[in-house]
């Protein structure tokens, strides 16, 4: 059943994404940026899905601490790990864009820096998990860490913004934005496809985590004999 849901989600994501790639490629080049503006169709959805992922990780972590149900722990890891990959996509695409437009691979501007810090924060989550052997302790400590990390995200964001701001202001949903409606439609479809991909990957990772727990259980049973 779960297998079918995952396959259906992946298929739907592909159906949405493939024609949309064609639509995006046929869009006229942006006036000042040329070709490279198309990266935004992936850059922003990746960041948005990673952001939603961190919120899901927080909720799952709190629920684990309250219920001690390992399902929530598995969800927290799955969502964080996939989120890290998506945030990496965001960072890499942002870096490519910066190379073309700004002429440098990396600029310490507000949003790039915050995104990088978030990546490092949540990488710490995985490193902490890896270092802890006993499953209950691992889940508990990781959940505590996740709560600290999530709390830090908005503080990081504001402090970095005060520190320096160079980044172009968001184009979408802002009054000064100049995003034609047909671009907006392609963008939203891409957003949906990326979300679906995120969810499907999370579910696959979730299943791995459950298998891992079963292996751990069997291993301990064997050791006890």
């Amino acid at each position: 059943m779960r297998q079918k849901v995952i396959l259906a989600m992946l298929a739907l994501a592909a159906v949405l994404l493939l024609p949309n790639l064609y639509v995006i490629s046929m869009l006229p080049d942006e006036m000042r940026q040329g070709q490279i503006f198309r990266i935004i169709f992936f850059h922003v959805p990746a960041a948005a899905s990673a952001m939603i992922g961190s919120a899901v990780a927080l909720v799952a972590s709190v629920l684990f601490l309250l219920t001690k149900n390992f399902r929530y722990d598995a969800l927290a890891v799955a969502v964080t790990e996939v989120g890290l990959a998506f945030l990496a996509v965001n960072l890499v695409t942002g870096s490519i864009w910066a190379r073309v437009i700004w002429g440098v691979w990396w600029a310490w501007d507000a949003r790039l820096t915050s995104a990088l810090i978030c990546w490092v924060l949540y990488a710490g989550y995985l490193i902490l998990r890896q270092a802890l052997e006993e499953p209950t302790q691992r889940a508990t400590f990781a959940a505590v860490y996740s709560i600290f990390a999530f709390t830090d995200v908005p503080i990081v964001y504001f402090s970095i913004r005060w520190w320096r701001t160079l980044h172009p202001q968001p184009v979408f949903f802002s009054k000064t934005g100049s995003f034609p409606p047909d671009w907006g439609r392609a963008f939203m479809i891409n957003m949906l496809a990326v979300f679906l991909l995120y969810a499907a990957l999370t579910m696959i990772r979730l299943r791995q985590e459950e298998t891992q727990r079963e292996i751990d259980y069997l291993r301990r049973t064997v050791h006890a004999i």
Binding site: T151, I155, S159
Partner: protein, 226 residues
């Protein structure tokens, strides 16, 4: 009242044990000296450069040196399973957190207060011109470092590579606090007053301390008992 008394008992215990061996504080201070020395090669310590980067330099030294103290905080409870006895006592996790946190705070602040004049001499800086505001930054920043560091010290105490793990986990979380402390320290060491937009950093430090202290108070029982 009872709560505060228990906090003080824990703090006094940690400080007394530390004063007997001076393990953490000696290592921490020596480390601060070495880093100060090394950083003098990283750039040419002329008056102008020093003024620009003094905040960053000081807080990197403080954070590195502080980590050594924080690492010892819960590691001290490992021999003889002392942590069991602390948990067994009718002391809430929040009191243990505050007690150990205060002890760490005192030790780190002591290292900082020795490192600061050394910095002044080595780098030829008259850092005392805004003495009290600078002390406020030191207190706020150090408490931020301590509150997160104490909880994370408990999180990492049973990990094989805890000496590496603690800074790896703590530093990224500390970044907002460090930004504020670095900016303010740079201004104050240069003898300038903190006015206008720059006061936002004081607000940031206060907010950071309050948020993470509350979070630590709430979560400490979970960390200690699972």
């Amino acid at each position: 009242m009872r709560f505060l008394r228990q906090v003080m008992v824990v703090t006094a215990k940690d400080l007394r044990a530390e004063m007997r061996t001076k393990e953490a504080i000696n290592a921490s201070f020596a480390f601060a000296l070495v880093v100060l020395l090394l950083l003098s090669f990283a750039f040419d310590p002329t008056e102008e450069t020093t003024r620009d980067i003094s905040g960053g330099l000081l807080w990197i030294v403080f954070t590195f040196a502080g980590t050594l103290v924080l690492n010892r905080s819960f590691a001290r409870e490992l021999p003889n399973d002392c942590l069991d006895a602390l948990i067994a006592a009718p002391v809430p996790g929040a009191a243990l957190f505050l007690g150990k946190g205060l002890a760490n705070f005192v030790l780190i602040l002591a290292v900082e207060l020795v490192a600061l004049p050394v910095f002044g001499i080595f780098y030829n800086v008259r850092w005392t011109r805004q003495f009290w505001p600078l002390m406020l930054v030191l207190v706020l920043g150090t408490w931020g470092l301590t509150s997160i560091g104490t909880v994370f010290s408990a999180l990492t105490v049973n990990i094989r590579l805890r000496e590496v793990m603690l800074p790896l986990l703590v530093y990224p979380v500390l970044i907002p606090m460090l930004l504020g402390a670095m900016r303010l320290s740079a201004l104050l060491v240069a003898g300038q007053e903190v006015t206008g937009d720059e006061t936002v950093w004081f607000k940031l430090l206060f907010g950071f301390d309050i948020i993470f202290t509350s979070l630590s108070l709430v979560l400490m029982d979970t960390v200690l008992l699972g």
